[in-house]
């Protein structure tokens, strides 16, 4: 027998660190600033926190033990997840489950990284970038398989040949998110981007070019999760957790048709069922955008259009502020900056709190879908946030 947790828990505080080039802080320091801001936003105190979920697994990321040490936290429940970019949305869901199980009441969830500084801070760091990769794996490195873009280039090529998807359609995603970013003063990429500039950009792994790839920045985001009952007495309007779901196609990106239909299909079906809604009820989507093509795939898998129709859907202007599904309204990882989806959790909460100025606020926003994707391409997680508990 399963219990429906829909509407029982909420995000009650959101916080972020300075974003962009922040060479004076490492990932733990960035996280600490974000966590402090999230707690203050909620109107809570350090003493109220009895749970901590961060992204692991190693010192490149925000391991919970190091974060907890920096924040001087003693909690009943803490852990770090290892689902890559799917971790952050999953961690919010895990916080709800932990509170439901009675092991804690108020959980800080977040992630931070210093990716810009890590690659620019010193001459050695710059050199490390120039001479990467530093690790090789068989059945790939021998043939020149390096870096993340190739996985999405291969997926995009297959999608193009099967469904007629075009480069200009992928470009519509990059352009829409840049338009959103230009209204967000904290976004890293502020320069206008036209479709013509997109189409003439330098190729990275064809069919993907520079503007198909997310931008690396320094930054952190954190949220506070607690019970809906407690949320009603706190400072901010709650962003209720209406649904969540997961889909991990661990058999591999290159197996079956997993790069055409991803685990987002299972994640979405579960999240919609839990929330008692469908894709038509979603007012804004914050879609994990490591690469443009991953947005297109998820829009199909989360049911905003049929499989194969993602290209025409995005080219219709659907993702723009005045489109049918304003998406990645803070600029996303393609233009605001890549913090493994954490900033998109914050943006989903802010949209249902309706706290933005009119130019950025999705009108009458009741439901936000936030998605995560990662773990070397095979993990998906979905989170549905609501202005109302049900």
């Amino acid at each position: 027998m399963s219990t429906n947790l829909s509407g029982k828990y909420a995000i009650v505080g959101v916080g972020q660190s300075p974003l962009g080039k922040v060479p004076e802080l490492g990932p733990i320091g960035l996280f600490a600033v974000a966590a402090k801001n999230a707690i203050e936003d909620a109107g809570l105190k350090k003493e109220d926190v009895d749970g901590l979920i961060t992204r692991g697994p190693d010192d490149v990321y925000c391991h919970h033990q190091k974060v907890g040490e920096a924040l001087g936290l003693n909690v009943t429940f803490s852990t770090s997840t290892a689902n890559g970019g799917a971790s952050q949305t999953m961690a919010v869901a895990m916080a709800c489950m932990a509170i439901e199980a009675g092991v804690c009441n108020t959980v800080v969830v977040g992630y931070g990284r210093d990716t810009w500084s890590r690659t620019h801070r010193t001459a050695e760091a710059k050199q490390a970038v120039a001479s990467r990769p530093r690790t090789y794996s068989e059945f790939g490195s021998e043939f020149g398989q390096f870096g993340a873009p190739v996985n999405y280039a291969v997926a995009a090529r297959r999608h193009m040949e099967r469904f007629g998807t075009t480069k200009a359609q992928l470009g519509a995603i990059a352009v829409a998110f840049r338009n959103h970013a230009r209204k967000n003063p904290h976004a890293f990429m502020q320069k206008p981007l036209t479709l013509e500039e997109y189409l003439s950009a330098r190729l990275i792994v064809d069919p993907l070019c520079l503007y198909d790839c997310s931008v690396f920045i320094d930054g952190a985001g954190a949220v506070v999760v607690t019970t809906a009952e407690r949320a009603r007495d706190l400072r901010q309007p709650p962003a209720y957790v209406r649904g969540f779901g997961f889909g991990n196609r661990l058999s591999g990106w290159y197996a079956d048709d997993n790069m055409i239909t991803t685990g987002a299909k299972e994640a979405g079906e579960a999240a919609y069922k839990m929330a008692g809604i469908g894709p038509r009820d979603v007012d804004t989507a914050q879609i994990y955008d490591c690469f443009t093509h991953m947005v297109l795939l998820q829009l199909e898998d989360y049911g905003f259009c049929a499989k194969g129709e993602g290209g025409p859907f995005v080219a219709s202007g659907a993702l723009e502020a005045d489109g049918v599904l304003p998406t990645n309204t803070s600029g996303g990882q393609l233009s605001e900056g890549h913090i493994e989806g954490m900033l998109q959790v914050l943006e989903g909460a802010r949209q249902v709190r309706r706290e933005h100025t009119a130019d950025r606020q999705v009108k009458d926003c009741n439901i936000a879908l936030v998605t995560g994707h990662g773990g070397n391409t095979v993990c998906q997680s979905a989170l549905i946030l609501g202005r109302e508990a049900g």
Partner: protein
């Protein structure tokens, strides 16, 4: 001393027989003794039925391109002079997919579902790589 300057990751315990097969110009993949499923990369159990009884089977080496991406940026200096080069996913007739390179064909001539067949490239004295080339029909 070889002047081959591309990475050659050492075989794992589970992949050593595969690379030994390449040296003999034989393409071997694990085939389940119970359900006849072929899989790749090598692993100790059949991913279909979890049988631990399986055999290294020599396969036809024929297949088709599932998809590919064309590198325009060098992530490794050994590949800098190859740009643009394609990383290709080949689906063997027996089912498994392998990442590889296709030789005897320019990147712009590649397409999904193109028929290909295996060729072997003795890149050093110790190592032979499996690659593919457009299939000769007839």
């Amino acid at each position: 001393m070889s002047d081959y300057n591309k990475p050659l990751p050492p075989p794992s315990v589970e992949s050593e027989p595969f690379w030994d097969g390449c040296k003999r110009h034989e393409l071997l993949v694990p085939r389940c003794d119970r359900c006849a499923h072929h899989w790749f990369p090598p692993a100790a159990t059949c991913p279909e039925c979890w049988s631990t009884d399986w055999t290294w089977a020599r396969v036809s080496g024929k297949g088709k391109i599932y998809s590919f991406g064309v590198y325009h940026r060098a992530y490794h200096k050994g590949f800098a002079e190859e740009l643009p080069y394609a990383l290709v996913v080949v689906e063997l007739d027996e089912g498994p997919r392998l990442t590889t390179n296709v030789v005897g064909c320019k990147p712009e001539e590649l397409s999904c579902d193109m028929p290909v067949e295996v060729v072997f490239d003795d890149v050093t004295e110790d190592r032979t790589l499996y690659k593919f080339t457009p299939a000769n029909d007839g």
